[in-house]
């Protein structure tokens, strides 16, 4: 068994401390740089393969709140954020209702009852090369 001299022990301990300190510093730096406190709102949402939405279909999306249609004319989408203050609308038999302040919209997004004054927004749908659907909210 090799006898570790006092000097070698000090060197080894010092190197150990420095490596560990370096690792802690690097970890902290990565954690710091990785945290984005004020990110821009997300405007693109991957809806997955288009095949998940057969023809014809009407799908309610949770994030972002929207309704996605697949018809003979293709894919189309409409926001289900109330144009009054942004609450998520509830789907009903004759359109959409805001659970916050009772605004109502018909199935095509036209206002039938205030306080909302603007119709629901149409959202853009993009099909990627690998047949994924991307929903754009901007």
């Amino acid at each position: 068994m090799t006898n570790l001299s006092r000097r070698d022990f000090l060197k080894l301990a010092r190197a150990g401390f420095l490596w560990l300190s370096g690792a802690l510093t690097l970890g902290g730096l990565i954690r710091f740089l990785d945290f984005e406190p004020n990110p821009a709102p997300k405007t693109e949402f991957d809806l997955g393969p288009a095949a998940n939405y057969p023809l014809p279909s009407r799908t309610l999306l949770a994030d972002p709140p929207a309704v996605l249609w697949h018809t003979e004319s293709g894919f189309s989408a409409m926001s289900l954020a109330c144009t009054h203050l942004g609450c998520t609308l509830e789907d009903g038999a004759d359109g959409f209702t805001c659970p916050c302040h009772a605004s109502r919209f018909d199935a095509d997004g036209r206002v039938t009852h205030g306080p909302a004054a603007q119709p629901l927004s149409a959202l853009r749908i993009e099909m990627t090369d690998d047949n994924n659907l991307i929903l754009h909210t901007d």
């Binding site: 006092r6 000097r7 000090l10 060197k11 301990a13 010092r14 401390f17 420095l18 560990l20 300190s21 802690l24 510093t25 970890g27 902290g28 945290f35 406190p37 004020n38 990110p39 709102p41 954020a81 009054h84 203050l85 942004g86 609450c87 998520t88 659970p99 916050c100 302040h101 009772a102 009852h113 205030g114 306080p115």
Partner: protein, 410 residues
């Protein structure tokens, strides 16, 4: 000596690296104890905020203000990106109460929210600012008139200066009441001791008086809760808590400890009918009576108008009614905010002489009425006075005449 130098240097390096390691480990440890930042991007603002990092346990404030839509900062203010409590709270509006009238316009206002047009029935803040509950104009005028500080009983002063350029009452403005500038010592003392009941006054000490200020004085019925289902106990934080002694200009707290609902009301000479001590205040008193109608009124009596006959009619007339044919009728909005009735088009409800809906009272096919308590959701039925054995004289229709037969002696 020479052989010791390198060792000392190595030893110092070791101490330095060890110290660095300890400091960094301590920093990691302390950082690991901090809660993970919880980000919320409200749909209304689209701007991230981190308030839920510490406040995720708060209940939803109301169904009309979901946190996913409004977030916290829209109403409360504060530094939305801060994770340090002191920094995050440093710019909050109204401390913990953004509805205090000093900041309510910034917190609750806006044309889409609570300071919109009268036509859209969104002038809530204007109504509150001009209401008797916040001007206290009648009490101020009464005291000043009594002690010779003014020559009539008209309202000239309010708790704060307020204007109403489109007045229907003839009062276009009130100046601010400043007790220090009053000459009469009784009026001064009134100002010092008796201004604890207007809704923006800090409440008196004690659990019985506990309430918020501003909108929260009435609508905050629990921790972080806003509601239009306001129980009478909320009103009792100001009302029925005692009486003012005008000789000493002091407030005399009630000393009893009521165990029955009827005794919760505290007017020694008051007489109360069963519905008055069974229902909640908001079941009879309308929104314009309680929250104001947007006009400055001279005193409580000039805004309060609901009488027994409003719901019960008289021997000769049934109470006023309205059949709901317009989906935009205000009754539907009020029922939506506090869904106790499930009103439908075609329902007939009672209305007041000013056309305000008593939307929780519906006419039944047999000509009687059903009512559901706005706060208790208790179900009641009652009938009109017409056709009963009531012997009231036609010219005696105020509620105090009804009390003569129907009130319970205390």
């Amino acid at each position: 000596m020479q052989t010791n130098r390198p060792l000392t240097f190595d030893f110092r390096l070791l101490l330095g690296s060890g110290l660095l390691f300890v400091v960094l480990s301590l920093a990691w440890f302390l950082d690991a104890r901090q809660p993970d930042a919880v980000e919320l991007i409200p749909t209304l603002t689209g701007k991230p905020e981190y308030c839920l990092t510490c406040h995720a346990d708060l209940p939803e404030i109301s169904a009309s203000h979901p946190v996913e839509t409004f977030g916290c900062v829209s109403c409360h203010g504060g530094e939305r990106l801060a994770l340090d409590a002191d920094l995050a709270h440093s710019t909050m509006r109204g401390g913990a109460n953004p509805s205090d009238l000093s900041v309510a316009e910034a917190s609750c206002g806006g044309s889409s929210c609570h300071s919109g047009s009268e036509a859209d029935d969104r002038h809530h803040i204007q109504r509150v600012m001009t209401s008797i509950q916040s001007t206290y104009a009648g009490a101020i005028a009464g005291i000043r008139y009594t002690f010779g500080a003014q020559t009539d009983l008209n309202a000239h002063l309010g708790i704060r200066a307020v204007t109403d350029e489109e007045t229907k009452t003839g009062i276009t403005s009130l100046s601010s009441f400043d007790p220090a500038s009053e000459e009469n010592p009784f009026v001064q003392k009134f100002g010092e001791n008796c201004l604890t009941c207007h809704i923006n006054a800090a409440p008196r000490e004690g659990e019985a008086y506990a309430r918020g200020t501003g909108c929260a004085a009435c609508h905050s019925t629990g921790e972080h809760t806003l509601s239009t289902a306001i129980p009478y106990t909320q009103c009792n934080a100001c009302h029925n808590r005692g009486n003012y002694d005008l000789r000493t200009m002091t407030f005399i707290e009630r000393s009893d400890h009521p165990t029955q609902r009827i005794d919760d009301y505290y007017q020694p000479i008051g007489l109360f009918t069963r519905c008055e001590y069974t229902l909640d205040c908001v079941d009879c008193h309308t929104r314009s009576e309680v929250m104001g109608d947007g006009d400055i009124h001279k005193d409580q009596a000039s805004i309060e108008y609901v009488q027994c006959r409003t719901c019960h009619g008289t021997l000769e007339e049934l109470p006023l009614t309205r059949t709901l044919t317009d989906p935009n009728d205000i009754a539907f909005k009020l029922d939506f905010l506090n869904p106790v009735m499930d009103l439908k088009l075609g329902d007939t409800i009672l209305v007041t002489e000013k056309g305000e809906p008593l939307w929780n009272i519906r006419v039944l096919p047999d000509g009687t009425y059903e009512m559901i308590g706005k706060a208790t959701r208790q179900y009641f039925t009652f009938r009109p006075v017409m056709g009963t054995a009531c012997e009231q004289k036609p010219d005696e229709q105020e509620s105090h005449y009804c009390h003569e037969c129907h009130a319970v002696e205390k």
